[in-house]
C-alpha cells in the first residue's frame, strides 16, 4: 500500500528508523511522526468509536486527531512530534490498562 503523503523535496536528510506496530519504518531526520507514518502508510490510529481509521486532519496541533501511543503506553501528538531514532509507536490497540 502506498503512503498517504508524498515527499516532493528535502530528501537529502539523514535517515532515521522508527518502529511502528512492530515493523521498522524508514523516516528522515526532521520529519514529524505524522509524516513518517503517513509517507509509509495510510492511517495513524483507529477511531475509539468504531467508525474507522483516522490519519489526522489539521496538521497544526488544533484538531487532536493524530494522537498515537508509544509501546510503553505514552501519548504523542503525531503532527507536532519530531521523529527520533528508536521511537516505537503503536497505531492499533492502545496499551491500556497495563498491569
Amino acid at each position: 500500500m502506498t503512503g498517504l503523503l508524498h515527499r516532493v523535496g528535502e530528501t537529502g536528510r539523514s535517515a532515521v528508523r522508527i518502529v511502528v506496530d512492530g515493523a521498522e519504518v524508514a523516516a528522515l531526520e526532521g520529519d514529524t511522526l505524522l509524516v513518517a507514518l503517513l509517507t509509509a502508510g495510510a492511517r495513524l490510529r483507529e477511531s475509539e468509536f468504531g467508525d474507522g481509521p483516522r490519519a489526522g486532519f489539521c496538521l497544526m496541533g488544533a484538531c487532536q486527531d493524530c494522537w498515537v501511543w508509544t509501546e510503553e503506553g505514552g501519548r504523542l501528538r503525531a503532527c507536532s512530534t519530531p521523529v527520533a531514532s528508536g521511537m516505537r509507536v503503536v497505531t492499533r490497540g492502545a496499551p491500556w490498562p497495563r498491569p
Binding site: L4, L5, H6, R7, V8, G9, E10, T11, G12, R13, S14, E29, G30, D31, T32, V35, L38, T39, A42, R43, L44, S47, E48, F49, G50, D51, G52, P53, R54, A55, G56, F57, C58, L59, M60, G61, A62, C63, Q64, D65, W67, R75, R77, S80, P82
Partner: protein
C-alpha cells in the same frame, strides 16, 4: 518583582507585540506552543531543511525573513518559552505546560496573539485518511516538503483555496480540481471592499489564472456531497453550479472555508464576546487598539479578527502600545494613529473577503443525518439535531451536554462553527441564537503525568 507582560503566540502579531515591548525597555515573556517562532504563514521548516525563503514563502519571502530576523534579535532580550502550551487562565496568571511540568505564570498584562485555524464544514467521509484541512495541506508542503496526495482536490472557499492549490501545482502534484462553494458573482459584488488592497486582488486573480493555465479544473458555486473511499480517499462527489452531479477521482482532499479565530484563552480570561455578523462568528470584543473587555488583557492578530498576516504585525504592535500606555509607559500618540490608519484598509478588505468567499452556512441544513460532525467523539448530525429537537436544546452548550458534540479532545475547534449552524437550521433560528461553545481548560490535552512546579 513585578509580574511581566506576557505575550501568547509567536506569529506575526505576537512577535511584533513583543518587539514593541522590548523597545520600551521591558522584558516580556513570549510563550509559544510550537518549537519555533513564525506562526502559521511564516512557519519555519525544521533544522536540516534547505529550501530558501523564496521557495517557502513565495511573494511573502521578504516579510517572512524580516519577521524571523526580528524574532531572533529579540531572543536575548526577552523570556522566550517555546514548546510551552498555555492551557488555562486564572486571575492574573496563565497556567503553562512544558516538558511534563505545569507552572503558573503571573502577568501584569496579557497579549493574546493566538492566531486562527481552518474553519470547516463537515461532509460525509471527511474523517477518511486523505482528507486534510487546507491549512494542513499547506503545512505539509511548507514545513515537511510533502503533499497530502499525488492527485488532490481542493474544496472550500477563500483565498487560501487558490493559493494552496497553486503551491501544490508548483510542487508537482496533479491537482484534480479546485472546487469553490462561493459563486463567482459574490466575488464581483465584493470588489468595492476588496479594492481596499488592490495588490492582493491582483495576486488572487493571478493564482486563478495560473491554475487555469496549468489545466486545473476550477468550479465555483459548487455543492459538496461526499468524500468516498474504503479506508482512504478515492473520490469526491459534488454538484456543479448548474446542478449536475459530478464525481472526481482523487487520493486526497484539502478542505477549508476560511479561518476561525482561536479564542479559547480570551474566553478563559473572561473576555466578553459579541456576534460578528460578517464573519458569522462570536469574537472577543476589543477596542480599536486591541483592548479586551477585561482590564489588562489585549488581543491581536487573527485571534481577534481574521485580517491576515500584514494586519497581524500592525495589530500586535498596536496592542503592545495600548498595553504600555495602560501600564503608564509613555507612547507617542502619532505612532498609534499611524498604526490605526494602516489597519483601516485591511479591515475593509476583510469585510470584502467575507462577502466574496462566504462561509457556506446553507450546507449545514443539507448535511445528512449519518454524517459525522464531531470528529473527536464521532457524533453525527442526526444526534445533534435530536438534541436540538426532541431534547429541546436551545443553544450549542446544551446541545453539547445532550449529544457530546464538541466535547472531545479538540474542544469544538473543528466542529463548533458547523455545529452551531446545524443546530440553528434544525431549530429554525438565527445563528447568533445558537450561541458559542464555552471554552474549558485545558484548551488542549494535558497529560495526567503533569508535575506541578512548586
Amino acid at each position: 518583582m513585578a509580574a511581566p507582560v506576557v505575550v501568547v503566540g509567536a506569529g506575526p502579531a505576537g512577535i511584533r507585540a513583543a518587539e514593541r515591548l522590548v523597545e520600551a525597555g521591558l522584558c516580556p515573556v513570549l510563550v509559544e506552543e510550537g518549537a519555533r517562532d513564525g506562526g502559521q504563514i511564516y512557519r519555519r521548516q525544521p533544522p536540516g531543511f534547505t529550501r530558501g525563503p523564496e521557495a517557502l514563502y513565495g511573494s511573502e519571502a521578504a516579510k517572512a525573513t524580516a519577521l524571523h530576523a526580528a524574532a531572533e534579535a529579540l531572543r536575548p532580550r526577552l523570556d522566550w518559552r517555546p514548546e510551552t502550551l498555555v492551557w488555562a487562565v486564572r486571575d492574573g496568571a496563565l497556567l503553562v505546560h512544558s516538558a511534563g511540568r505545569g507552572e503558573s505564570l503571573p502577568y501584569a498584562a496579557l497579549i493574546l496573539a493566538t492566531g486562527a485555524t481552518d474553519r470547516v464544514m463537515p461532509l460525509p467521509g471527511w474523517t477518511l485518511p486523505g482528507v486534510a484541512s487546507l491549512g494542513g495541506a499547506q503545512i505539509a508542503l511548507k514545513a515537511q516538503a510533502c503533499t497530502i496526495g499525488a492527485r488532490p482536490v481542493f474544496l472550500g472557499t477563500g483565498p487560501l483555496l487558490y493559493l494552496v492549490a497553486w503551491q501544490y501545482v508548483k510542487a508537482g502534484a496533479a491537482v484534480q480540481a479546485v472546487l469553490d462553494t462561493s459563486p463567482f458573482a459574490s466575488r464581483v459584488a465584493a470588489l468595492p471592499w476588496m479594492m481596499a488592497r488592490p495588490a492582493l486582488v491582483a495576486r488572487g486573480a493571478a493564482y486563478t489564472m495560473a491554475l487555469r493555465r496549468a489545466g486545473v479544473r476550477i468550479a465555483t458555486g459548487v455543492t459538496p456531497i461526499a468524500v468516498e473511499g474504503e479506508d482512504r480517499v478515492a473520490a469526491l462527489r459534488w454538484r456543479d453550479a448548474a446542478g449536475r452531479d459530478c464525481r472526481t477521482d482523487c487520493d486526497a482532499v484539502g478542505l477549508g472555508y476560511g479561518l476561525r479565530s482561536e479564542t479559547q484563552l480570551a474566553d478563559l480570561a473572561r473576555c466578553d464576546f459579541a456576534f460578528d455578523a460578517g464573519a458569522r462568528q462570536w469574537l472577543p470584543v476589543t477596542d480599536e487598539d486591541g483592548r479586551a473587555s477585561v482590564q489588562g488583557v489585549y488581543l491581536a492578530g487573527d485571534g481577534a479578527q481574521v485580517r491576515g498576516a500584514d494586519a497581524a504585525e500592525l495589530a500586535g504592535r498596536l496592542a503592545a502600545c495600548a498595553a504600555l500606555r495602560d501600564l503608564g509607559v509613555a507612547v507617542d500618540e502619532a505612532e498609534m494613529v499611524h498604526l490605526r490608519r494602516r489597519l483601516m484598509p485591511m479591515t475593509r478588505f476583510r469585510r470584502g473577503l467575507e462577502r466574496a468567499f462566504p462561509w457556506p452556512a446553507h450546507l449545514a441544513a443539507a448535511l445528512p443525518d449519518e454524517a459525522l460532525v464531531c470528529r473527536c467523539e464521532a457524533i453525527t448530525a442526526g444526534e445533534l439535531r435530536r438534541a436540538g429537537g426532541e431534547y429541546g436544546a436551545p443553544e450549542v452548550n446544551r446541545a453539547k451536554a445532550f449529544s457530546r458534540t464538541g466535547m472531545g479532545r479538540c474542544q469544538g475547534r473543528m466542529c463548533g462553527p458547523a455545529a452551531a449552524e446545524i443546530l440553528a437550521a434544525a431549530r429554525g433560528m438565527p445563528i447568533e441564537a445558537a450561541g458559542r461553545l464555552r471554552g474549558a481548560a485545558p484548551v488542549k490535552p494535558l497529560p495526567v503525568l503533569t508535575e506541578a512546579a512548586p
